[in-house]
């Protein structure tokens, strides 16, 4: 662990940032009661993965240049940004519709369907 602090910034540091974002997002999804908070958690998870992709795709960080994903990583990151926006738009519309019918966006109140 200490070596991470002393060595130059490399792939591992980026992966740790990505992992922290992923875990924060997952915790946020699991604990938030507000539907918008859950959606924010989803954004964090997607962007945590995106940090990974960009880091793995970078030629400057790769352990072994022959086994890097290169440009693929950057392209995937771009696609994910677009998809995350589309998904957020749809999810927000659904949350708005839920609010219209229930007058709340507390996900714990979504409990009419069970069994």
């Amino acid at each position: 662990m200490l070596s991470l602090l002393s060595e130059p910034v490399g792939l591992s540091h980026y992966l740790i940032v990505g992992a922290v974002m992923f875990v924060s997002g997952a915790v946020c999804m699991a604990t938030k009661r507000n539907a918008l908070g859950v959606l924010m958690g989803i954004e964090l998870v997607l962007n945590g993965a995106n940090v990974n992709f960009v880091a793995f795709g970078s030629d400057f960080l790769a352990r072994n240049p022959n086994y890097g994903i290169g440009l693929d990583g950057h392209v995937i990151a771009l696609f994910v940004i677009v998809l995350a926006a589309a998904e957020a738009a749809v999810a927000l519309a659904i949350v708005l519709n839920f609010y219209n019918n229930h007058a709340t966006i507390d996900v714990d109140k979504a409990d009419e369907l069970k069994g």
Binding site: V45, I76, A91, A93
Partner: protein
């Protein structure tokens, strides 16, 4: 390579790819036409469902699944390896487009939407079908994620189609939150796999995993973690335990027609993707056949989470121990996939059938039945990978046949479940309820519909001589071939268990007296809904006479899957 070469290469590749991509292009075009028609006054009088029907019909014509009857389709990568065009692609694309046509007709027959929402549902159905076609042909980790999202996002909206219903909006919220969450987890898993192996292209990944010189360099822990996270996304689409929570809630809240769409099309596409991923990782092209795993794998039957974690731990250990094998990590990867799929399918199947018992709502019952059937359909995939891991070169045909049983079951399942949900939707329009007890005594006033429903339910159990029997037989035969006897026992026991809750529905409809407060419900088979139901039920009843064609198509589709 200079710029000119690059340019001509790209043009040539794109041109030849576009030709094989024509059905999807037609779907895209139809969606654009549907959206544009509403802009211009005058043109907005054209009914959207006719345009959608014409578009999907044309796409089906160009997808041409019937070429499988004449022989195998040459497997080739299109769009520089992003997609794979082979028999499985052709089969599933045909199936999905055919289902889209039937579904659009169903929304007309049951009058799901008012005329101003007509274009919305047509656009969403075609958009989801487009994503599902891509799921069936994905050959790249990016395409896997994109296709799953393209199929999911329109489905979220469809679940909330009836905007003013409380339950419908709750179903859409649950579906979109669960779906987006699992998609995020899947993307993180994909990033780990891609980064560790150093490629996003499935055949390249398989080759790297099979490369003995690389085996010691690849860190196993992130690979296992990535594999499990990818499995989370797949399990959500398949509604496999433990990611099945959304399924009953969404099916109950969404209109029955949409339930049918999610139950058939979404499941078929997810099965195709599971086949793509499992075979993609475990079967590198042209080699890596004889793996030194001598112990036959006994698929664990114990359905406890604690046991699952033990197995995962064991797999990690095995992966570390066998890193020095001549086939690289391939043996461990296969073992991992077989154990994971076998375990999940056994639990899914058992859970679905047991949970269906206490249900009083027919849509919830069908949701649990869908979960159980996802379990049955996953079993042969485990068998196929097991055959690959166990045997020498000659056995790859057996692995292909095991996958073919999945295709066969999916095709039969299309008719069974679409029929069931169509009848539920028609009864909703006439009885005004979706509770099973309100179906009591229906046989007295509308015997034709009840007979059709009974046939479909018997077929879902898998009783001969109905179509479901052919599918179950093919699946269990694949399990015998794959030497996964414990899975076979689980499947057999589950079939027996499932008998009772399906029969309960039939008993309520036929033996119980009709409730006093319900008006007379008489639905003749000669009416429009009746004719639709009859046409969907007919293949369930008649497939046993001539099932050779379908089997040949499924086997031709899978012949080139594993070389």
């Amino acid at each position: 390579m200079n710029l000119l070469e690059l340019f001509t290469d790209l043009l040539g590749n794109t041109e030849s790819s576009l030709r094989l991509f024509l059905p999807e292009l037609i779907l895209c075009g139809t969606i654009l036409v549907l959206l544009a028609l509403r802009i211009f006054s005058g043109l907005d009088k054209i009914p959207s469902w006719i345009v959608a029907l014409a578009g999907s019909g044309l796409a089906l014509y160009y997808a041409a699944p019937w070429v499988l009857l004449e022989g195998t389709v040459k497997s080739q990568e299109i769009f520089t390896g992003m997609l794979l065009y082979d028999g499985v692609t052709v089969f599933f694309r045909g199936l999905l487009l055919f289902f889209a046509i039937l579904f659009i007709l169903l929304t007309r027959v049951t009058e799901l939407v008012q005329s101003e929402d007509d274009a919305d549902i047509a656009t969403l159905v075609l958009g989801a079908t487009l994503g599902m076609c891509l799921m069936a042909s994905a050959n790249h980790l990016l395409m896997i994620f994109m296709a799953v999202e393209m199929a999911s996002v329109p489905s979220y909206v469809m679940a909330g189609m009836l905007k003013s219903r409380r339950r419908s909006s709750e179903a859409a919220l649950k579906y979109s939150v669960y779906g987006a969450g699992t998609a995020g987890v899947m993307l993180y898993g994909i990033s780990l796999i891609a980064g560790v192996v150093g490629s996003c292209h499935l055949p390249t990944i398989a080759a790297s995993l099979a490369d003995p010189s690389l085996a010691s360099q690849l860190p196993t822990m992130p690979l296992v973690l990535g594999g499990l996270m990818l499995a989370v996304g797949l399990a959500f689409k398949l509604s496999a335990v433990p990611f099945h929570f959304w399924c009953p809630d969404v099916f109950e809240g969404a209109p029955a027609e949409v339930g049918g769409f999610l139950s058939v099309a979404s499941k078929a596409a997810a099965m195709a993707l599971l086949v793509r991923v499992a075979v993609g990782f475990a079967a590198p092209a042209g080699g890596g056949v004889d793996v030194a795993s001598s112990e036959p794998i006994v698929a664990p039957v114990v359905a406890t989470a604690a046991f699952a974690s033990q197995v995962e731990g064991a797999v990690t250990l095995t992966a570390a121990d066998t890193a020095a094998e001549p086939d690289g990590l391939l043996g461990s990867v296969r073992y991992f996939i077989v154990v994971l799929i076998a375990l999940v399918s056994a639990i899914t199947c058992t859970f679905g059938n047991l949970a269906a018992y206490g249900q009083t709502n027919i849509k919830r019952l069908l949701a649990y039945s869908t979960i159980a059937h996802a379990g049955y359909m996953m079993m042969p995939v485990a068998a196929a990978i097991h055959i690959l891991g166990e045997a020498a070169a000659g056995y790859s045909a057996a692995a292909g046949d095991a996958v073919a049983s999945v295709l066969l079951y999916t095709a039969i399942y299309l008719f069974m479940n679409l029929g069931a949900f169509a009848i539920v939707a028609i009864l909703r329009n006439n009885v005004g309820s979706e509770e099973i007890r309100d179906y009591a005594g229906l046989v007295q006033t509308s015997p034709g519909l009840v007979i059709c429903f009974a046939l479909i339910l018997f077929s879902l159990i898998g009783l001969p001589p109905l179509a479901g029997f052919v599918g179950k037989y093919a699946i269990f035969y694949a399990l015998v071939e794959g030497n996964l006897i414990s899975l076979l026992i689980v499947g057999g026991l589950n079939t027996a268990v499932s008998l009772f809750f399906y029969l309960r529905v039939i008993k309520v409809m036929t033996i119980d007296p009709p409730p006093e407060d319900r008006g007379p419900v008489s639905l003749s088979l000669i009416s429009l809904p009746g004719i639709y139901v009859t046409l969907i039920t007919a293949p369930v009843l008649l497939l046993i006479i001539q099932w050779d064609g379908l089997v040949r198509m499924a086997q031709a589709a899978c012949r080139a899957l594993v070389q």
